[in-house]
Symmetry: C2
Subunit: 404 residues, 2 copies
């Protein structure tokens, strides 16, 4: 029996939020003094809970259950975006602390609970640095080359933080599963009223830059038939996407045209150039390819009609399914606790994306008030924070029992 | 008989182009030293041609045929846009000089030829200042308030130029008609191969700013049905315009979406705002109203479907028809000279727009190489410059004869 203590969970979460506190949120970017202080505080908490605590050179904090050779690993990250929310990452980390602590208080078992706090999930220097390093998916060249948008080098940040510990690598013989909790960052749970979302997978993302070329002309004196307007083909493409993607989409598909512009950008000059960004996300790689083909076919059709439109893939992330057995375990845990639940994909990336390539991994989301995230307004009701931790603790218990 | 001298015409045009010469073009913005020097040079040329020359306080140069109480007025403007072309305005001014000069050389008649060089047609301080002042359509308050985009006041520009002459007002008992020539600023004559275009009227312009409001959301984690995307309604509106305006348009209608933008403008953020500029031009005011209504109806339809789109009219200029009798006279002149011609509206504004409200006015265009204008690349073949002047001289002759 892993009986978490709600008050202690919430008190630790609030204590963590003091490091880098900014109004109602937190500013704790990776390798900042407040980030490092938070990690040192956490390592102390791990030790107080009877775990073997370490911080490696990337800043990843690991708390290992003593006296076991197998463990369920639970955690997330405490680094934030600039002026971010107090729960993003932090909540999943404190779930790990509380469940590992409660598991030991409950007497332990042959399979223990380890807990982890990864570094730079938010990508100040290198997105998901900690989890990628743990699975051996980041090489020295990438580390040497990584720098922040304002030009600080990752290697300088590491040196400045005084971190020297040997990188902790995943050992699939020890860590038999990875569990991560997160706030939803969207409005679905708030709308459905369910306490918890069981994540089926992390969506794949394809992002295109679509560029159209034309010729600038005086918009008053050049007849329509003699123009080569770069913008209109992109307006048509955007309308096509709105219509055709709606037909092709699953209930999980999302897409966005977030940027569009015409040059030179004067009311009385025919656009000589235009471009837009289009991204689409879905857990199903086949559906992503179908959407990509629909766009390519429409661009080809526009070009046959005289446009000069090209597209370039600027980002392409494959979907990462979460482990089906772990998802079923989360479902059973939620049912045991009589909490409403639903399954959904994660529309954003998380450390579990990388752990899942090596060991069975699962995620849950708790409701996010107003769907806000990466903002100081980010928040979740205390009872929902507690409920999520109870579901995860129960799932860990079921996994331990099932594998013992 | 008004027999213009082609070599003299071209030599004067090239002499004028030296004032403010910039590479292959001219930089001679209103009231600049080079603008004032050009006007003084022109007044001298008027005097040499036997005309009574004057410069008023706005810089408008007038050359009056002596000994007559009626005259055909011919002219345009010598001010340019920054780094503009050598023919825009200047060609119409030198046509006036050459035709007034040739008319006197031909012995004159009871109806003379006056010539004029208006000021600031390009709107450095006040668009069409000279022609508006001549018809009494600009008051002292407008003059006191006018300033350039870089903050120079019109009154300071006038004082700096040392101009004090009483503004010359139009006297419809004297000036019985106004003729203006211009380069086409578009590609139609070059495509048709005709030597001259007879202008039916100056198009009306309506320009709208269309604004859409939405809500910013994470484009990965917010389901499509819970978004309020500001951009998609404008993409639909743009596609509607391309389709519906094509159906409603006359062969003279032109339209343009020259600016579009989404805010905040990130690939992974649902646009919270979007706006575009739409302008359309046509000589027919009823057709302009029909186009405007089509846009308003579509915006209403989009709003019924959930969008929050509004539009604001940022510019509205009524069409100005040119005089039908003068157009017929130009046509007869072109036929007499065996030059190919066609009728077309002017898609841009000219001084004739204001003269036409007081006296019968007409315009012709000559071919513009590549349709270029307001650019140092602007040019017209010498033989086309000469042909245009011959058509205008012949038309002046026919008008004098018809009215004598």
């Amino acid at each position: 029996m892993i009986a978490i203590k709600p008050d202690r969970l919430l008190a630790d979460l609030r204590a963590l939020a003091k490091f880098g506190q900014y109004k109602t949120g937190v500013d704790r970017i990776a390798f900042s003094p407040q980030d490092i202080e938070a990690r040192q505080w956490l390592a102390l908490r791990y030790r107080e809970a009877g775990l073997e605590a370490s911080i490696d050179r990337f800043g990843t904090v690991y708390g290992a259950a003593p006296g076991v050779d197998k463990a369920i690993l639970i955690g997330s990250h405490t680094d934030t975006v600039p002026c971010g929310g107090w729960l993003d990452g932090a909540m999943g980390v404190i779930y790990g602390l509380e469940i590992a602590r409660a598991a030991r208080e409950g007497g332990g078992s042959a399979i223990g609970v380890d807990t982890v706090n990864f570094q730079d999930e938010e990508g100040t220097y290198l997105p998901c640095l900690g989890s990628r390093a743990m699975i051996g998916a980041v090489d020295e060249a990438a580390i040497a080359g990584a720098q922040s948008t304002d030009g600080r080098k990752l290697t300088d940040a590491i040196a400045g933080a005084g971190l020297t510990g040997e990188p902790r690598r995943l050992d699939p013989r020890r860590q038999v599963a990875f569990l991560e909790a997160h706030i939803e960052q969207g409005p679905r749970l708030e709308h459905s009223g369910n306490k918890v979302a069981i994540i089926t997978g992390i969506v794949g993302i394809r992002r295109l830059r679509v560029v159209s070329e034309g010729r600038a002309d005086h918009a008053g004196t050049t007849p329509m038939g003699m123009r080569n307007d770069a913008l209109t083909p992109l307006l048509r493409l955007g309308t096509f996407v709105a219509d055709r993607f709606t037909e092709l989409a699953s209930s999980d598909t999302v897409w966005n045209i977030g940027r569009i512009e015409a040059t030179p950008g004067a009311a009385n000059v025919v656009p000589s150039g235009a471009q837009l960004s289009l991204e689409f996300r879905d857990p199903d790689v086949d559906l992503l390819s179908q959407l990509e083909k629909a766009v390519a076919d429409e661009i080809a059709r526009l070009n046959v009609a005289g446009a000069r439109v090209t597209s370039e893939m600027t980002a392409r992330l494959a979907p990462t399914p979460m482990d089906g057995g772990i998802a079923d375990t989360f479902e059973r845990a939620a049912r045991d606790l009589k909490f409403g639940y639903e399954r959904m994909p994660s529309g954003a990336g998380h450390d579990a994306m990388f752990l899942a390539t090596k060991i069975p991994s699962g995620m849950i989301f708790v409701p996010s008030i107003g769907g806000r995230s990466h903002d100081i307004a980010e928040n979740t009701r205390d009872e929902d924070i507690v409920a999520g931790c109870q579901v995860m603790a129960r799932a860990a218990e079921l996994l331990v029992r099932g594998r013992a």
